[in-house]
């Protein structure tokens, strides 16, 4: 089909800390990735540069390229950047009187929540966090609602009016109103917001916390509302101007914005707080999407980056949601894809502890600057990347496709000085030790995500990505017993690929209070369950309203209902995909509880069940989604395994079986479907290198996805 140009169909632009990746899919499903430096002062510069590069590769101008696209998505970091650089709006806060110190107390755990294991225990390392809103911009208003939503103290209206006037006089641009239990009954919070609105006029935005996040835990709810109030104009300005500019250039559709929950929404309907961390979720969505293609419903996504190793779980085709994510030192109540992380990646620093005289790797990272010792940018401490280089896995002249030249001498000197000599090891043994320990840390995180939660690893497949994913995939999956292990030539841009595969989605959670005592009668249960029904009904209306505002018809939208259930007095719950959308008969309740019991038993074992305690439901949610056009993986003709030899780039020495061995090096991008490479060997791509140890092999399937095979028999995957 040479000479026949394919139409570019989907583009997704993912803003990272260092690079902005433009991931583009054509009508045949082939991908390309274009990289541009991230320009923090104006993210649109990197956005356009990435797209322009991609357009150039297919011989188009940017405008021609945009005119062809069906879907254009954007993962923006404008919200998190504004929080980190403190460049948002001046905000005031009005809270239930007596709670004025809410941001100064900061839930205590904000002092240590982002510290590593040792620093958490080392009390002298603990520091208080600056409040999100200084106390002189905080006012209290007397009012109270209790845990059943009953008004115990009505609003003292004079106080509300005075608070509004005082904050307006301070020149605030937005006022957050947060009262206790307003997510159950917002009458007081809304009344205060109305009074404030009357006092301050239209120049000051009033943000009701329970509207932003109708969830229990006032500190997290106030944090979410603050993020929304503080950053929303910046996000709106960015997406509006981008949207307008894109239309001028010929893009005919709505720009889609990635959310932390894993879905995209049209730019006009984005809430700033929902974009606080949209990057990591891309990998999980990508893994889920590929799982659909391959027929896997249980997947572990493993993202090995420069500074962290992120693991996400997909169970029965759904990824887990974390309702109290930690973002820096903040704990907003924003549902996000549940991703567990440790400080382990290419940049993780290794050394020997002076007290224990034992090897350590991470959690500190050399980052991109100064980076590993081999970068030659002043980093003196050895990292995992230095170890991979010394072991011969990474080609110093072909790191990131040759964009960064590495110095093997600097890496060797650093490992010799900081690890080999203190431990009395040879250089290679020391480098191998660094790698082995990094792999062990990652492996245990994967094991913890599965085994510690009661899952059988054999029911799962692993998908490894991120720049160093294929380099370490064997190490962090060794012995766990996954049914299949995948890695990808586009590993470094996998998150962008995932974002391109995201559906249009709105997830709305709501805190409720439903306590079903142990010996409740059917009539009591049905009466109590009305709270559940009311919650779902409210959420259905709100999610549909959002979807309709984005131009979708009711018939296009599918709804999923969940309930977070626990035994009586238990402190954590399981989010259950409800088999029913209302509890109208006792059988409906029993069906819901039976689903919970089954899942509970699966996760925590039969002996951990305790139905005698009754049941409690404190949260319900509804997810509305509309499927959109996605990247399509193209099936390629499958060749005999020996076709791999055509992609043989050469041979070089690398560390296997305790010493250096001469091994094959294959060009990743040149490998055809059906290729099989026996370990030990290396498979080098432009942005990643796969390490295949002895007694292992790698096979390329019809979608050009790589399978890591344990054992040497062909076709054992």
């Amino acid at each position: 089909m040479a000479g026949e140009r394919r139409r570019q169909q989907i583009a997704y632009v993912d803003t990272g800390g260092t690079f902005t990746d433009a991931f583009v899919v054509d009508e045949q499903g082939d991908f390309m990735v274009a990289k541009a430096p991230t320009t923090k002062r104006d993210l649109s510069v990197g956005f356009y540069e990435g797209l322009t590069k991609a357009a150039g590769r297919v011989g188009l101008t940017l405008d021609q390229f945009l005119a062809e696209l069906d879907v254009l998505g954007f993962g923006t970091t404008v919200v998190i950047n504004a929080l980190l650089t403190k460049t948002g709006r001046k905000c005031g806060l009005i809270v239930t009187r007596g709670q004025e110190h809410i941001f100064q107390i900061g839930r205590g755990k904000t002092v240590w929540v982002d510290l590593d294991f040792v620093e958490r225990i080392h009390v002298a390392a603990h520091r208080s966090v600056e409040p999100l809103i200084p106390l002189h911009l905080v006012r209290g208003v007397t009012e109270r609602v209790d845990c059943f939503g009953q008004v115990v103290i009505p609003v003292y209206e004079d106080e509300a009016r005075r608070a509004a006037r005082e904050l307006a006089a301070e020149g605030v641009e937005a006022i957050v109103v947060m009262t206790l239990w307003a997510f159950l009954n917002h009458v007081n919070e809304r009344r205060i917001a109305d009074l404030v609105g009357q006092e301050v006029g239209e120049g000051v935005e009033v943000v009701e916390a329970s509207k932003v996040s109708p969830m229990i835990r006032e500190f997290s709810r106030a944090t979410s509302a603050f993020i929304q109030a503080y950053t929303s104009p910046l996000l709106e300005r960015q997406v509006r101007s981008l949207q307008a500019d894109l239309r001028r250039r010929g893009f005919r559709r709505d720009l889609l914005i990635m959310q932390s929950t894993g879905g995209v929404v049209t730019a006009d309907h984005i809430m700033a707080v929902n974009t606080i961390q949209s990057g990591p979720v891309g990998g999980v969505i990508g893994a889920r999407y590929l799982g659909e293609l391959y027929g896997y419903k249980n997947i572990v996504s493993c993202d090995v980056g420069g500074t962290s190793f992120d693991v996400g779980l997909i169970i029965n085709g759904e990824f887990r949601i974390n309702r109290e994510p930690v973002v820096g030192k903040m704990i907003p109540s924003v549902p996000m894809a549940d991703i567990v992380s440790i400080g382990a990646g290419g940049g993780s620093i290794a050394g020997v502890d002076p007290s224990t005289r034992r090897l350590y790797v991470g959690p500190a990272s050399a980052g991109a600057d100064p980076g590993p010792a081999a970068y030659g940018r002043g980093g003196e401490l050895p990292t995992v990347t230095d170890a991979d280089l010394v072991l011969g896995y990474i080609d110093p002249d072909y790191f990131l496709g040759g964009e960064i030249r590495l110095s093997r001498e600097l890496a060797e000197a650093s490992i010799a000085k900081h690890v080999a000599e203190p431990l009395g090891l040879s250089l290679l043994d020391a480098a191998h030790g660094i790698r082995a320990l990094a792999d062990a840390h990652m492996r245990e995180l994967v094991a913890g995500a599965l085994v510690a939660k009661g899952y059988d690893v054999a029911d799962f497949v692993a998908m490894a990505f991120g720049g160093a994913g294929p380099t370490h995939v064997e190490g962090f999956t060794a012995g766990l017993g996954f049914s299949a292990i995948f890695f990808f030539p586009y590993s470094a841009a996998f998150s962008a690929f995932g974002c391109a595969a995201a559906d249009i989605e709105q997830t709305m959670p709501l805190s409720v209070t439903l306590v079903v005592p142990p010996r409740a009668t059917d009539a009591e249960i049905l009466r109590l369950a009305e709270r559940l029904n009311a919650g779902w009904e409210q959420l259905e209306a709100r999610t549909m309203e959002r979807m309709e505002a984005q131009g979708f018809r009711q018939s296009e939208v599918s709804l999923r209902h969940t309930a977070a259930i626990r035994y009586g007095r238990q402190l954590n719950d399981l989010i259950i995909q409800s088999p029913v959308t209302r509890i109208c008969r006792i059988e409906d309740w029993r069906a819901l509880v039976a689903t919970f019991e089954l899942e509970y038993e699966h996760v925590y074992t039969h002996s951990a069940k305790y139905p005698q305690a009754g049941y409690e439901v404190y949260e319900v949610s509804v997810t509305a989604s509309v499927r959109k056009t996605k990247p399509r993986l193209v099936a390629h003709p499958v060749h005999p395994p020996e076709v791999a030899s055509r992609a043989l780039r050469g041979r070089r020495q690398a560390f296997f079986d305790g010493g250096p061995r001469e091994v094959n090096v294959y060009a990743m991008e040149d490998l055809l479907a059906g290729s099989r490479m026996e370990g030990p060997c290396l498979i080098e791509g432009r942005t990643t290198t796969a390490v295949i140890p002895p007694s292992h092999a790698a096979e390329v399937d019809e979608y050009l996805t790589f399978h890591l095979i344990r054992g040497t028999a062909p076709g054992t995957r």
């Binding site: 009187r97 007596g98 110190h101 100064q104 107390i105 900061g106 839930r107 205590g108 002092v111 240590w112 958490r120 225990i121 080392h122 009390v123 002298a124 603990h126 520091r127 208080s128 200084p134 106390l135 209290g140 007397t142 109270r144 209790d146 845990c147 059943f148 115990v152 004079d158 206790l180 239990w181 229990i216 835990r217 006032e218 007290s355 034992r358 090897l359 431990l423 090891l425 030790g433 320990l437 062990a440 840390h441 492996r443 245990e444 094991a447 085994v451 510690a452 012995g479 209070t513 005592p517 035994y567 009586g568 238990q570 402190l571 954590n572 925590y604 002996s607 951990a608 305790y610 305690a613």
Partner: protein, 725 residues
């Protein structure tokens, strides 16, 4: 160099009782846990990778248990620990969490083996053992420990253990820490190292006993499931690792991990501590149910030598009292271990190697009370003071040794308010209000302490959310804020704890009590001129007019306010006790009775008049330092009358003058040490000292000959001086 497999052979066929004794003998004779580190030296990477995997299994298991648990202490403040033990019951590695119980769990495991449980009731694969007897292991009845054996084939290769604090154990009062208890027999349902399950299944008869003997059994029973699940996770991980590494390698490795930590601990001591003899004291006060006001001291002498050998001697600590503040030996041991990890050995791959690195002398006293009758219901308060005393010693040593970043003033103790009755959902309940672990950390040599985020027994402190506490118990907050002047003053001040004020709300039946110390006497001093933190306050207002105030839209109390005129007193009409006893047995509450707690916190570091005035101003703006303290304690004159950064400024000249005046006043009040000592001696001889202090000294003079000798020498008293008159 020892060969792999020697230990496996050497201990082959030993009964568990013999194994425990063999190890003890070996440690005593060889002064180490094992003589050589063969595995570490031959392949340090393999050695480290196995440790990483064992440690992570404990960390993962803790997360698993948190998901199943029902105790608010677990979810809100993370009070749960999971650990792996050697066959003889020494800790190899542990998750974070409540570090107190790691070594006390070791006591429980050793107790069973030494008591020949192997023969009766038997220790077999799939068995589950439970203990909440603090003289066997743990702190007090609510600390419920689970231990399960790990068998590889027929050979015991280790133990997995877990602990949570369960708020309701069927004591004479709800909530597990009865302030009124004067003996062990009022503290609840005890299981003294009992087999509660076989084949990984809990015995129904045991569950029935718990269901029928505590107010709210679901917490105990769900937590037991959580701990068993966690321990089983550790067990299964260990068995897989043994398959991979071989049993000979595994048993050798775990003993090397302990020895390696022991050596690392000694090296660290030698590196950071200035050799010498250090002394420190801490104090506890409390109301004995018979009406006495008791004052007790914890006396510590620490000896550090050049090789990093450390010994702790508690001779001179007060004898036990009929108060729930006494401690069992495992509890004291646990408190010391907990402190050593947080303040000294945090980076030493901590495990029981630490306990083998430190020698300890524990005389009969409130730290080593009688095992059969004494009450030990709330030893966390004593443990906090004990920990604070150690912190003082180590911080002084750090400071002298040129490690100021690690020097920190102590956070001494904690305060528990408890409730029981019928909750807002109509269920029986017993509740500990775990805001107690949101204390401040002490001031440091290089900066201020952190606010509301710490307890001596758990470095991962958390205040929890008001809405969650209101969901857990029938209460309704009127206010929660950082306590004004709540941290000890200093050049670097301690962090503030909480000031919480709430109403009893939504219950027909409720009783409420509190257990604490430090009402009159500061538990621990500040460092280098820093002040101790202020004392604990527990205020109660009954039968008030609060509902009328609400109807009339009148102002309500929201925090303590001026100590000379607390808000509860001047805003409410009714029976108001603004500062009653802090060790107060439960009494009934009615709807909308009010309670307020001002918690204890970290002490200050350095002289307050050396504090940067701009930091004082910042604290004034944060409402954590009062204007009065700014002027009187810090000597900082702030101008302006509105609490606003644009309205308040430091008057530099007036501040300099005020500080000069404070220095002059200090000089005026000061006397030569000899003169001061002579005056104090006269007071002692004439008996002109406060009654609680006199009682404490006289009890000590009778109780400890060594301390009596020191006291007489210190005050130049005659050899026959037996009692303060």
């Amino acid at each position: 160099m020892a060969k792999i497999g020697e230990l496996w052979q050497q201990t082959q066929g030993l009964r568990l009782q013999e194994l425990v004794r063999w190890r003890r003998r070996m440690v005593e004779e060889k002064k180490c846990y094992t003589e050589e580190l063969t595995l570490k030296e031959t392949d340090p990477v393999k050695f480290e990778v196995l440790f990483t995997r064992l440690l992570q299994s404990a960390v993962n298991a803790r997360e698993l248990a948190k998901m199943i648990s029902a105790s608010n202490a677990v979810r809100e403040i993370g009070e749960i620990t999971v650990a792996l033990y050697t066959p003889e019951g020494d800790c190899v590695c542990l998750s974070c969490g409540v570090l107190l119980h790691v070594h006390s769990l070791s006591w429980f495991l050793k107790f069973m083996m030494e008591a020949a449980y192997e023969e009766n009731p038997g220790i077999r694969p799939g068995d589950i053992f439970l203990n909440n007897d603090p003289h066997i292991g743990g702190f007090h009845a609510p600390d419920i420990l689970i231990g399960i054996p790990i068998f590889y084939g027929e050979r015991l290769v280790g133990w997995a253990g877990s602990m949570t604090h369960v708020p309701e154990v069927g004591a004479v009062e709800p909530g597990g820490l009865p302030a009124s208890a004067t003996s062990r027999f009022q503290e609840g349902l005890f299981f003294s190292a009992v087999k509660i399950g076989t084949n990984d299944t809990l015995h129904r008869d045991i569950e029935n006993t718990i269901e029928r003997n505590v107010r709210d059994p679901s917490q105990w029973l769900l937590d037991t499931r959580a701990k068993v699940a966690a321990a089983r996770h550790v067990r299964e991980t260990v068995l897989k690792l043994i398959d991979q590494y071989g049993p000979e390698y595994y048993v050798e490795a775990v003993q090397e991990y302990i020895e390696d930590t022991r050596r690392a601990a000694r090296r660290k001591m030698a590196r950071v501590m200035v050799p010498g003899r250090y002394r420190a004291r801490g104090f506890l006060d409390g109301e004995i149910p018979n009406g006495h006001q008791a004052l007790m001291q914890i006396n510590l002498e620490v000896l550090v030598d050049r090789e990093g050998n450390v010994s702790l001697d508690y001779e001179g600590t007060s004898p036990e009292e009929p108060l729930p503040l006494n401690m069992s030996v495992p509890a004291t041991d646990g408190a010391i271990f907990c402190n050593l990890i947080q303040y000294v050995f945090y980076d030493c791959h901590f495990n029981d190697g630490i306990t083998y690195a430190v020698q300890m002398k524990l005389p009969e006293s409130l730290l080593r009370c009688s095992p059969f009758a004494s009450t030990v219901g709330a030893p966390g308060r004593t443990g906090g003071v004990l920990s604070g005393v150690l912190t003082q010693v180590f911080s002084r040593a750090y400071y002298m040794g040129g490690h100021p970043d690690d020097a920190i003033a102590p956070t001494p103790t904690s305060t528990v308010c408890y409730k029981g009755g019928v909750d807002q959902y109509g269920r029986r309940f017993g509740f500990n209000h775990f805001e107690l672990i949101a204390m401040g950390t002490g001031g440091r040599a290089t900066g201020d302490g952190a606010h509301a985020s710490y307890a001596p027994f758990n470095p991962e402190g958390d205040s929890g959310d008001v809405e969650v506490w209101e969901r857990e118990a029938p209460i309704l907050y009127l206010g929660r804020r950082l306590r004004m002047d709540g941290g000890g003053f200093g050049k670097y001040r301690g962090g503030s704890p909480l000031d919480s004020l709430y109403l009893v709300h939504g219950t027909r039946v409720c009783e409420s009590g509190m257990v604490s110390v430090s009402k009159w006497v500061s538990a621990n001093q500040g460092l280098m001129g820093g002040y101790p933190a202020p004392s604990v306050v527990f205020a109660v207002a009954r039968d008030t007019n609060i509902d009328q105030l609400i109807s009339a839209r009148q102002p309500l109390p929201h925090f303590y306010g001026d100590p000379a005129r607390p808000e509860l007193v001047w805003r409410l009409k009714g029976t108001v006790e603004p500062g009653g006893p802090v060790n107060r047995p439960a009494t009934p509450r009615k709807e909308h009775d009010a309670e307020e707690i001002l918690f204890h916190s970290g002490a200050g570091f350095g002289d307050p008049i050396e504090r940067d005035p701009t930091l004082v101003l910042k604290d004034v703006l944060m409402e954590t330092t009062s204007r009065r303290a700014a002027e009187q304690v810090y000597g900082v004159i702030i101008r302006g009358d509105r609490l606003h950064p644009a309205a308040l400024t430091v008057d530099v000249e007036a501040t300099a003058a005020r500080r000069a005046a404070i220095r002059a006043e200090r000089k005026r009040r000061g006397r030569p040490a000899r003169q001061y000592l002579a005056e104090q001696r006269e007071r002692i001889v004439r008996g002109e000292i406060p009654a609680p202090a006199k009682r404490m000294i006289n009890r000590l003079l009778s109780h400890s000959a060594a301390w009596a000798g020191w006291y007489r020498a210190q005050w130049n008293l005659p050899a026959d001086f037996a009692q303060v008159p």
